[in-house]
């Protein structure tokens, strides 16, 4: 069992006469790294490789968790330890499905754990004018988090922005858009993108949520953080006495009457509204919604709409996206890929613990066996492209060296430059 060995602090020995199994973990987000961590503790003799598409590790901890929440990003210290002292191999810049076929991987490792997450923004399922400005929250947060991809939003969102959804990701969007640049001290926000996307704080941020305030999915602490920002005024029209729960209580106490004041951001929460269409008028984006309980449609004329309504798989034609055929007796799934786009970093730890327990059970019961070569079985394919952990640390050192004043690092957003730094050829 995974849990008890740590209380002895002496992991159980690998089965007599065998070296530990060889393990491939695909994806270095929290779920993949926790799996590697628990497996390494249970099977100190196993050879574990974590494959990652990017030259940089840690998935959404690096590119999702908001740049101004460095405390949360601190969990990567555990994982750094795995790769620097724990004997686990980081194979960055390798996309399984593209750089190495799934079948080849599965043939080379005794255990394969898929931890590739859910990279796409779920789209608003309503008729939509293609000229409308609609941006996914995941793409927006990746942009502000220095994600190395050219296809991310870069042009100003405008002074009236509408956010669909009221989960923690929606709250991240609201906070990041309404925070003064100076308030990002200590963060690793991408200042260039912040300046391009948001040359000035929006005057109006409308939040449209299907649920009522009692059903809001965000944590009260997240809402409190937004409310406490300088220059932010909160409105919550239609909040009823029947609305219960911490979100409703908070909004009731902090809502103020509408007033237009230059330089301030007015955040208005609209509950019980179901989006019906996104159209355009005079070059602006118009979201039409209807009250859940009927009545006239409500129109919001905005500069852009940000959807924060969940995450999905990447495009169907994306070879790096696990399909149904990425399966076998010795192949496991963990994290968002397996559970759907819900749950915090900590929930991935619990899930990883369960998955590792079933891997170990399967091995002890003989349902999976050791004997495949592991990394040696794929090394020839990948030799010239793998970014190892030391290589990544060169990139990281460069990011820390080039941090602007008041920032903890300046992420490198150009893949070629990352690779040049990784190989020491900069």
């Amino acid at each position: 069992m995974v849990g008890t060995h740590s209380s002895q602090h002496v992991p159980p020995p690998a089965p007599a006469g065998t070296a530990g199994p060889t393990v491939a973990v695909v994806g270095s987000g929290p779920s993949g790294c926790y799996v590697a961590q628990f497996l390494a503790k249970t099977w100190p003799d196993s050879e574990i490789t974590v494959f990652e598409s990017l030259p940089a590790p840690y998935g959404l901890i690096r590119y999702g968790v908001a740049a101004d929440h460095q405390g949360t990003k601190g969990v990567v210290r555990q994982f750094d330890r795995l790769f620097t002292r724990g004997g686990i191999r980081f194979a960055g810049n390798v996309t399984v499905g593209r750089d190495i076929g799934f079948a080849r991987l599965a043939a080379s490792f005794d255990v394969v754990v898929l931890a590739t997450g859910l990279p796409g923004d779920r789209e608003l399922d309503v008729p939509r004018d293609p000229r409308a400005r609609v941006v996914g929250a995941g793409a927006l947060l990746r942009a502000l988090n220095g994600f190395p991809h050219h296809g991310l939003p870069r042009t100003p969102l405008g002074s009236r922005v509408l956010v669909v959804g009221i989960g923690n990701v929606a709250l991240d969007v609201l906070r990041l858009l309404s925070k003064d640049s100076e308030a990002f001290t200590g963060s690793d926000i991408d200042d260039e993108l912040l300046g391009q996307l948001r040359p000035a704080r929006p005057a109006v941020l409308d939040v449209v949520a299907r649920s009522d305030a009692s059903g809001a999915k965000c944590d009260a602490a997240m809402l409190r953080e937004l409310i406490a920002l300088d220059g932010v005024d909160i409105g919550a029209p239609g909040l009823g006495d029947q609305d219960r729960g911490p979100v409703a209580d908070l909004l009731r106490t902090c809502a103020v009457p509408a007033r237009e004041e230059p330089g301030r951001t007015r955040v208005t929460f609209h509950f019980g509204l179901v989006p019906e269409s996104v159209t355009t008028r005079d070059g602006r984006t118009v979201l039409t919604a209807r009250r859940r309980d009927g009545g006239e449609p409500v129109e919001f004329v905005t500069d852009s709409v940000v959807t924060a309504i969940g995450f999905t798989h990447g495009a169907a034609q994306d070879d790096g996206c696990p399909g149904p055929d990425w399966a076998d007796d010795h192949v496991y799934r963990v994290g968002w890929l397996s559970r759907g786009p819900r749950g915090t970093i900590a929930e991935n730890r619990k899930h990883a613990q369960r998955v590792v327990r079933s891997i170990v059970d399967d091995f002890e019961a003989g349902r999976i066996t050791a004997g495949r070569p592991g990394f040696a079985g794929v090394a020839d394919l990948l030799a010239c492209r793998v970014v190892g952990f030391r290589d990544w640390q060169r990139i990281e050192a460069a990011e820390e060296r080039s941090a602007r004043p008041g920032r903890c690092r300046r992420k490198i957003t150009d893949l070629d430059r990352m690779l040049a730094l990784a190989t020491g050829a900069h």
Binding site: G3, T4, S6, S7, Q8, H9, P30, Y34, Q37, Q70, G71, T72, G74, V75, R77, Q78, R81, G186, A220, A221, R224, E225, P246, T344, I345, A346, R349, K350, C408
Partner: protein, 151 residues
């Protein structure tokens, strides 16, 4: 001192790393140390250790992390006599929350109410500080142990 036990309660693993590093630092000084997850630890065994170091984070609205809550519930339920137990306490939290480090405060209060004696000051790590929790904890534990084992 015979054996010292470092008990951790965690949700995202930071407290486990801290517990491991406290243990390593103490072992270097020749102290026998065992690290255990509160999740797997029976409260009846608490009397066996000469000294317990509690390392725990805070979640939700000032709650104990998932792995520590059952341990705490068991203490409250079974009310073991801890009058022979000496303990030190280290909390991991984030000062952007109003309920900063309440988790360790809860656990400390329960230990004390059951008769245990706290050694030294409670240590704290603030995730918002940017400091490495292990550095803070290892520095803290050496001052606590100076109190525990006056030479």
């Amino acid at each position: 001192m015979n054996e010292l036990i470092v008990l951790f309660g965690t949700e995202s693993g930071n407290a486990e790393l801290v517990a491991d590093d406290i243990s390593a630092a103490l072992q270097e000084k020749g102290t026998a140390v065992r690290v255990a997850d509160m999740e797997d630890y029976a409260v009846d065994d608490l009397g066996e250790a000469d000294m317990v170091v509690l390392v725990v984070s805070t979640y939700g609205e000032g709650d104990l992390p998932d792995t520590a809550a059952p341990f705490h519930d068991a203490l409250v339920e079974a009310k073991p006599d801890l009058s022979g137990v000496r303990f030190a306490a280290f909390g991991l939290g984030d000062s952007t929350y109003e309920t900063y480090n309440l988790g360790v405060a809860t656990l400390r209060a329960t230990f004390t109410a059951l008769g245990a004696t706290q050694i030294g000051e409670t240590g704290y790590h603030d995730a918002d500080s940017g400091l490495n929790p292990s550095d803070v904890a290892v520095a803290w534990v050496s001052t606590v142990l100076a109190v525990a084992t006056p030479s």
